[in-house]
């Protein structure tokens, strides 16, 4: 692996309940469960490692309960983790494990080092604020204090995410699902973060709307050179957006590799099942 990574995850682990390591013995893909009968704890994710280069998109695929969203939330800082390291190139040149940061510094990373696009736009946006205002929140957090320049930048971002400028001053709560997701993308990209996490960004949207949003995301990833982690249960999304991916099952990575190769020739039975389901 190259040393040219923007985001690096090392042996990330999250256990719900008592963090008793005996829980590892009777959980995982071979045991067919993430819940330990021994300890009663849930091993939501364990020994998860990967890195993402600038301009690269990495997919994390698995069914619900596989631990993929846990991984994303641990990286984002929305959830605490039990063990492991998360490194960002922009934080002490990657020498710092951001999991060791105090909560305040951790939250501050979300201003310009790391953005998240959630499945539910309500998590990433304020619905009672205008589209422009939502972007202004990201910009003012990064120190922007010039009204005119904030307006220009917000307009530019909305234009780029294909939100009609006539709707810039409308409350996001009045927007359709697809439109909200475009605003969320605009907000996430406002401060040009080097890393972006996308959690099921098109799940829940109508197929035709989803296709448009996916197109947009692919273009944005290409244009911006951002390092992206795309979490999805849907191989079609992973295929369209990513070049490499990892497959998660019962909290562990069971297979990883180039997305094309994995789709062509999945090795692990669980990957085969997923691919089979996607092709059916």
């Amino acid at each position: 692996m190259s040393t040219n990574w923007a985001l690096k995850i090392e042996s990330l682990g999250k256990i719900h309940g008592i963090p008793d390591l005996r829980s590892l013995e009777d959980t995982g893909p071979e045991k067919g469960t993430a819940k330990s009968a021994l300890t009663g704890s849930i091993v939501a994710a364990w020994d998860v490692s990967f890195e993402v280069a600038p301009g690269e998109a990495l997919g994390v695929i698995g069914e619900s309960g596989s631990g993929k969203s846990t991984v994303m939330r641990c990286i984002a800082g929305d959830q605490g983790s039990t063990t492991g390291a998360v490194r960002l190139r922009t934080v002490h040149d990657g020498h710092m494990n951001v999991l060791d940061l105090d909560p305040s510094s951790r939250r501050h990373l979300r201003v310009a080092d790391l953005s998240v696009v959630y499945q539910d736009p309500a998590e990433g946006l304020r619905l009672n604020v205008t589209a422009g205002g939502n972007i202004a929140e990201a910009l003012t957090a990064a120190g922007w204090r010039h009204f005119g320049r904030i307006r220009d930048r917000a307009a530019e971002l909305l234009d780029r995410t294909e939100v009609p400028l006539s709707r810039m001053d409308d409350l996001v709560g009045t927007f359709s699902g697809g439109m909200r997701q475009r605003v969320q993308l605009a907000k996430a990209l406002a401060n040009e973060p080097p890393v972006i996490l996308l959690d099921e960004p098109t799940t829940g949207l109508d197929a035709s709307i989803a296709a448009g949003v996916l197109d947009l995301i692919r273009n944005l990833l290409e244009e911006t050179g951002v390092a992206a982690v795309v979490v999805s249960h849907d191989f079609a999304v992973i295929e369209m957006l990513t070049t490499r991916c990892v497959v998660m099952n019962h909290g562990r990575i069971v297979e990883s590799g180039l997305t094309d190769r994995l789709l062509e020739d999945p090795h692990h039975p669980y990957s085969q099942k997923l691919v089979g389901a996607a092709r059916a």
Binding site: V129, G132, A136, H146, F147
Partner: protein, 313 residues
């Protein structure tokens, strides 16, 4: 009939009406200097010291119940009574007026429980307790300004959860405050914040400026005097020490505007560079403007009266 009862019926301006009333089974109360017991005063002074040391930070304190209702200056009164000394001269204003009913009541309490002299002129005063205004006269290092605060939390308009509010202040995370100003400007074309305009103190904490009008805000910036803010109901004290930056939150390209009505001037003293309030007449066309700082207005009227008399002789 015993004396306290008689006093209560006949009235006595110099007496504090804080004692419970009159059946003879009670001993007459002997009140401490400044009403509060010394332990309480010490605790409040400690909170004040913290507030001065960390400008703009809202220091929690064990606010006492005062002989005035919460929301009626109980926070300001606690500060005044905790810091007042026998050499102080007190001025109390409400809306800029020394004769406002609540100003009168608070001044009576301070004066009667301490025996210190009172004044209406800032020049003669050392301790100025105020609701909603800063006197027009320049204040200096001799003065301590005590402001009564109804709602000390400047961010409550954008966040209701107190746990989240504490976090926002701790991390100086004021983005949502800026968003609210952005939205205001987008929606209305102007910033519509009126009194209590949010200000950044010492480049660190955002405070609610009581509700003093925007007119008074520039007076807090790099002032010569100490400003102490007391919120009794919400149990918070904060401070703007002398020579401290106080910047109203506003965009670089949207100038901060104070209250101004073109052509308005005080009917009594003819001033047009003081904070004016409108006196409504039944026929609104007959309405006129007067200074809200009644003492300033009185002195300037006398000044202009005597100078015009000088001209005549």
């Amino acid at each position: 009939m015993n004396t306290p009862l008689l006093q209560e019926i006949l009235g006595n301006a110099s007496r504090t009406d804080t004692n419970l009333d009159g059946s003879s089974s009670f001993k007459a109360q002997t009140l401490n200097f400044g009403l509060l017991d010394e332990y309480s005063k010490r605790e409040i002074r400690r909170a004040i010291l913290t507030a001065v040391a960390v400008p703009g930070y809202q220091v929690p304190f064990g606010s006492r119940e005062m002989p005035v209702a919460r929301g009626w200056g109980s926070g300001g009164l606690q500060i005044s009574l905790a810091i007042v000394g026998p050499d102080d001269v007190v001025k109390v204003i409400d809306q800029g007026d020394d004769e406002g009913v609540n100003a009168v009541n608070l001044r009576r309490l301070i004066v009667s429980s301490t025996g210190i002299p009172e004044s209406t002129t800032p020049e003669d005063s050392t301790l100025i307790q105020t609701r909603h205004r800063i006197p027009e006269d320049p204040l200096d290092a001799r003065h301590t300004l005590v402001l009564q605060v109804p709602v000390p939390e400047p961010l409550r308009g954008v966040e209701r959860d107190m746990r989240e509010l504490a976090r926002m202040h701790a991390e100086a995370d004021y983005a949502r405050m800026w968003v609210s100003l952005y939205e205001d400007k987008v929606r209305n074309g102007v910033i519509t914040r009126t009194t209590g305009y949010p200000c950044l103190v010492n480049s660190r904490y955002v405070i609610a400026t009581t509700p003093i009008p925007r007119w008074d805000i520039p007076r807090l910036h790099q002032s010569e005097f100490l400003s102490l803010f007391g919120a009794g109901r919400e149990k918070r004290i904060y401070a703007v020490p002398p020579h401290t930056d106080v910047e109203p939150l506003t965009f670089e390209d949207v100038p901060f505007e104070v209250e101004k009505t073109p052509g308005a001037k005080c009917r009594n003293c003819a001033s047009n560079n003081t904070f004016l309030v409108e006196v409504l007449a039944t026929d609104v066309r007959q309405s006129y403007w007067v200074c809200s700082d009644s003492d300033w207005c009185r002195r300037h009227r006398e000044l202009s009266d005597s100078s015009s008399q000088g001209l005549m002789t």
